[in-house]
Each structure stands twice: as structure tokens, then as C-alpha cells.
């Protein structure tokens, strides 16, 4: 047994709740982080000697809080003129600590911490970077590498994000049920974006980005444990699990994208799929459908099918229609067209997406899908133009390489035909 590994895991698992509780006491992210850091340093000395505490998270909160109060008192002696309210505030917190440690406050603490990272003035990449640094405890170096930016740039981004969420704007009142639901929604979006950030990684950065997906799943499970009856949290966690289950099959040895239809389904992670399906089962019982649940249900249909031909495309089409109602967006319609192409043929799919052109003209996937349908219809000249536009808009080398394969295909088989297995009307 490697005790260092155990202690590291204890720190990782304690971090979200410990920082959240320390933020409530000190109302300052930097102080909370320093207090946590301080407690971890003490734990590294104490635990190997005295044995691990029964509740490492509570230990870290107690020790971190005391260390930070000590530091503030020492500073007070040096500075002579103390900010009086700060101190009375602290003593108040101290007396309440014992009963609060086990109470439902924990839940609001953690939600508050995540919500603070989702400050509306912060652009999404900054929200994600801040959450990874503060909540997950990833190093600036790790985050920088995952985002393909320099360490200095990421350091600056995180500092700027912290400055932006000034102490005054952090909501410390206990939220009302409506506020709680609203915060949960904002946080869910951030977790979803964090996952997508990891999911869109290809090539050399793919391995690093997997960590972002795992972190998103960890946060999803954590929130779901605190809010066990929220069907959308079940849906979100299920969606992430089902998507991540395909991670090993999604990229080939060169780090290039393998389309769902061409993936080796034997590489899909059955354990993650089973967990995702179990969560969807639970969510459906609530009869309160939402966008995450519907997307998870779509992912589940793919997971259940042995291959593209066994996939229930008609049901997927229906689910996308539901999603269009719940969350109208041209991207949802674009995704729906894939199912329509399977059930009604490429002509119907093309008719569905043509009206989206003005809004999606700068969107890589729009031109990729349009090119594919045109090719299936034998309109190769137009298909070539669409693919070329897609290449120009590709966000990563892998995306561009994928479309180039289509272009090569156009050159190779000059005789256009509807590929076998496609049910053209």
C-alpha cells in the first residue's frame, strides 16, 4: 500500500467540500485556498505519524480554518488596526462550526462555490478554468496543457477571473428553493461545457483532455449526491457517462476522430454505460423531461444498439424533435437531420438543414453534414464545395483530416451512388 497515493486521493476527494466550507467562513477564495493548502501541509506531517483521521474532510476543514484564523490574528498584531467586523464574523462562525459541519449547509456551500465560478461576467472558458483550479485542484500547468495555452497565459486568465468575482458579489445568503434551482442550472451548464472541452480534444492533447471529462463526471456525481431528486442532474450525469464510455473508440491510433458508425463498439466501457442507463431509468420516473435527459436518452439508444443498422433511428428522430421543442437551436435540428437521413433518406435531411444556412454558415459540422447528404444524393460538385468550406472552418487538425478523407473519397469514386445500407426514398 502506498500511503502517499491514499493521502493524495483524500485531498482530492476532500477539496470541493473543504474549499466550499472555508469559503463560507472567510468569504474570500484566496483565503479559502490558502487555508486548504495549509491544512494539507499539516496533514502530510500528521497523518503518516498519527494515522489518518476518520473523516479527512472534516479534519481538513477544522485545521484549515484554525490555521487561517491564526494567520489573520498574527496579521492583526502586525497591522495594529484590525478590521473589526472580520474578526467578530469569524468568532461567530467558530461557534456555529460544530453543528454546521454535518448539516445541509454543506450542500449549499458546494453549490455556492461552483456558482461563484460560474459568475455571469466570466466567459465560459474562464468559468471552466476557475472551476478546475479552485474546485478540482488541477494545477495551472495541467489546465494550461489541456487548453493548449502557455502556463503564464492560464495563470493570468485564472487571476483575472478571480479579480472579476470581487468579494462583494459572492452570494452568501442561504438560497431560496427557486434560487437553488436556478444556480443548479447554471452550474450544470458549466459542467457540461467542461466535459465538452475534454471531449473535443484530439491528437496529442486527447490524453490530457480525458482528465477534463473525468473531472466533469466527478462533479456531476457529487452534485447528484447532494441533490438526489433532480432529474436533470441525473440526465446530465448519465449523458456524460454514456459519452465518455465511448472515449477509447472515438479516436484512432493517430488521434483522429472515428465516427460513431465506424467505432469498434467492443471498446465501449460497459460499466459506464450501465451506470448511465441506470440514471436515465431513475430520471424517467420523475416525468419532468429536460434537455439533458433527452440528450442522455439519445446517447442511450446508441449505447444499446449493436451497430448503426440496429439503431432505433425513428426513436432518435422523435427524441430530437422533443429536444427542438425544449431547447430550440439550429444545431439540434442539424443533429436531428442525421436521424432523418437514416429514416427518410438524404433528400429529406438536406431539406431539413437547408433553411439553417444563414445561421450555421460559419459552422464546421453544418458544411460537413451538408456535403455528406449531397454526396449521397450524387451531387458531387456541390458536395465538394461543402466539404471544402468545412475544411476551412475546422477547429482542429483531426476535424480537417476527417473531411479531407471525404474529399479524397469524392475523387476516388467518381461514379456517384447511394452507399449500401442507406435507405434513400
Amino acid at each position: 500500500m502506498n500511503p502517499a497515493a491514499w493521502i493524495e486521493a483524500a485531498f482530492t476527494s476532500a477539496r470541493p467540500q473543504a474549499i466550499a466550507a472555508l469559503l463560507r467562513y472567510f468569504r474570500d477564495l484566496d483565503v479559502a485556498e490558502e487555508a486548504f493548502q495549509d491544512a494539507c501541509l499539516r496533514a502530510l506531517k500528521s497523518w503518516p505519524q498519527n494515522g489518518a483521521p476518520r473523516d479527512p474532510t472534516a479534519w481538513i476543514i477544522f485545521v484549515g480554518r484554525n490555521a487561517a484564523i491564526d494567520a489573520i490574528r498574527r496579521r492583526r498584531k502586525l497591522e495594529q488596526l484590525p478590521p473589526e467586523e472580520t474578526l467578530s464574523d469569524l468568532e461567530d462562525a467558530e461557534s456555529k462550526l460544530a453543528e454546521q459541519l454535518d448539516s445541509a449547509d454543506y450542500r449549499d456551500d458546494l453549490l455556492r462555490l461552483l456558482f461563484v465560478c460560474c459568475h455571469p461576467e466570466l466567459p465560459a472558458p474562464q468559468q471552466i478554468a476557475l472551476a478546475l483550479r479552485v474546485v478540482s485542484g488541477l494545477s495551472v500547468r495541467q489546465i494550461a496543457r489541456a487548453f493548449l495555452v502557455s502556463e503564464a497565459a492560464m495563470e493570468q486568465r485564472i487571476t483575472r477571473a478571480k479579480n472579476r468575482i470581487g468579494a462583494g458579489t459572492v452570494p452568501f445568503d442561504t438560497p431560496s428553493p427557486a434560487e437553488r434551482t436556478q444556480r443548479l442550472g447554471v452550474v450544470a451548464t458549466m459542467i457540461y461545457l467542461l466535459f465538452n472541452e475534454g471531449y473535443s480534444g484530439t491528437g496529442e492533447s486527447a490524453g490530457l483532455r480525458t482528465q477534463l471529462c473525468e473531472e466533469a463526471i466527478r462533479l456531476g456525481r457529487l452534485l447528484l449526491r447532494l441533490f438526489p431528486s433532480e432529474p436533470e442532474m441525473m440526465g446530465l450525469t448519465a449523458l456524460l457517462l454514456l459519452q465518455h464510455a465511448r472515449a477509447k473508440a472515438r479516436l484512432d491510433a493517430q488521434g483522429e476522430i472515428v465516427l460513431l458508425e465506424e467505432q469498434d463498439r467492443g471498446l465501449w466501457d460497459g460499466t459506464l454505460i450501465a451506470e448511465g442507463l441506470a440514471l436515465i431509468d431513475k430520471a424517467v420516473r420523475h416525468r419532468r423531461p429536460g434537455p439533458y435527459q433527452v440528450q442522455a436518452a439519445i446517447a442511450a439508444l446508441h449505447s444499446r444498439a449493436a451497430g448503426s443498422r440496429d439503431t432505433d433511428w425513428a426513436e432518435i428522430d422523435l427524441l430530437y424533435a422533443t429536444l427542438e421543442r425544449l431547447q430550440p437551436s439550429p444545431v439540434v435540428t442539424l443533429n436531428r437531420s442525421v436521424a432523418v437521413a437514416k429514416t427518410e433518406g438524404p433528400g429529406a435531411a438536406l431539406a431539413l438543414i437547408e433553411p439553417l444556412e444563414p445561421r450555421l454558415s460559419e459552422y464546421f459540422h453544418f458544411h460537413g453534414a451538408r456535403g455528406a447528404y449531397l454526396h449521397q444524393l450524387g451531387r458531387d460538385e456541390e458536395a465538394r464545395e461543402a466539404f471544402q468550406r468545412a475544411v476551412a472552418l475546422a477547429g482542429s487538425a483531426a476535424e480537417a483530416a476527417h473531411i479531407r478523407l471525404h474529399l479524397d473519397g469524392l475523387v476516388k469514386d467518381r461514379v456517384p451512388s447511394t452507399p449500401a445500407g442507406e435507405s434513400a426514398k
Binding site: 500500500m1 486521493a9 483524500a10 449526491r225 438526489p228 431528486s229
Partner: protein, 130 residues
């Protein structure tokens, strides 16, 4: 006598294990299980999905109440169990210690089994596991 060894640990902690630690732990546990199996003492072994997948049916009200989440909100959660044939409590404790050496942290509850129904006809453990 048959014993159930119920595994409790902090779910947060176990799910924060780095992959190498998880693999090493599972490797050590499977060695202990191998030994028990060779001695013909190992019954069913189960690892439960995270408590987020749990649903509780409170049947003390009418109608019974369905609640999301595990039955008990505790710092350590029931994460799995073993069924092992033991000569008595001493051997059961000995077995639990061996498993504990392979996987320190948390706790095992050792409970003698009063009745164990073997699987019913047509039960396919593989499909049940999927």
C-alpha cells in the same frame, strides 16, 4: 457457516483514487479472492454502482414511498459485499483482515448469513451483470 462481508468506505474517496492505485488494489484483492476460491470458500462477490444510482423504497407508509438515493446518508457508504464460507467468526475476521490488508481504509461489517438462496432456474448472471 456462511458470512457476508459488507464493504463500507467513503465513496468520494474511492472514486478519487488514481487509476494506478485502483488497479493495484484490485490486483491485490483478486489474489485474496483467488485463494478463497481455490479453497472452495468464495461465494458471490458484488461491487455496487455509486449511490447516485440507488433508489430507496420506504415500505413503512401506504402507499410505499420511492426516494432517490441510498437508504442511509452516512459518511461511509455500502459499496459492495462478499459471501464467504468460514468455520466461524475467527476465520471470518481472518479473511476480512486479509481483504483489509489488500485494501486498507473504510470498514468491513461481518454478518453471518441465515439463509442464502441459490440463483433461481434460468438466472443468467452475465446478463444480470450487464
Amino acid at each position: 457457516m456462511l458470512y457476508a462481508i459488507l464493504c463500507y468506505n467513503s465513496e468520494d474517496l474511492v472514486y478519487s483514487w488514481p487509476k494506478e492505485h485502483e488497479d493495484a488494489t484490485m490486483g491485490r484483492l483478486s489474489m485474496v479472492q483467488q485463494k478463497l476460491a481455490t479453497a472452495g470458500r468464495l461465494g458471490p462477490v458484488a461491487r455496487l454502482m455509486p449511490t447516485t444510482t440507488a433508489t430507496t423504497l420506504r415500505k413503512d407508509s401506504e402507499p410505499a414511498l420511492v426516494i432517490d438515493g441510498p437508504f442511509a446518508e452516512t459518511k461511509e457508504q455500502l459499496l459492495g459485499f462478499y459471501v464467504v464460507e468460514c468455520t466461524g467468526l475467527e476465520q471470518a475476521l481472518e479473511t476480512a483482515r486479509e481483504l483489509g490488508n489488500a485494501n486498507p481504509g473504510g470498514a468491513y461489517e461481518i454478518r453471518p448469513i441465515a439463509l442464502l438462496n441459490p440463483a433461481g432456474p434460468g438466472f443468467n448472471s452475465w446478463s444480470a451483470q450487464r
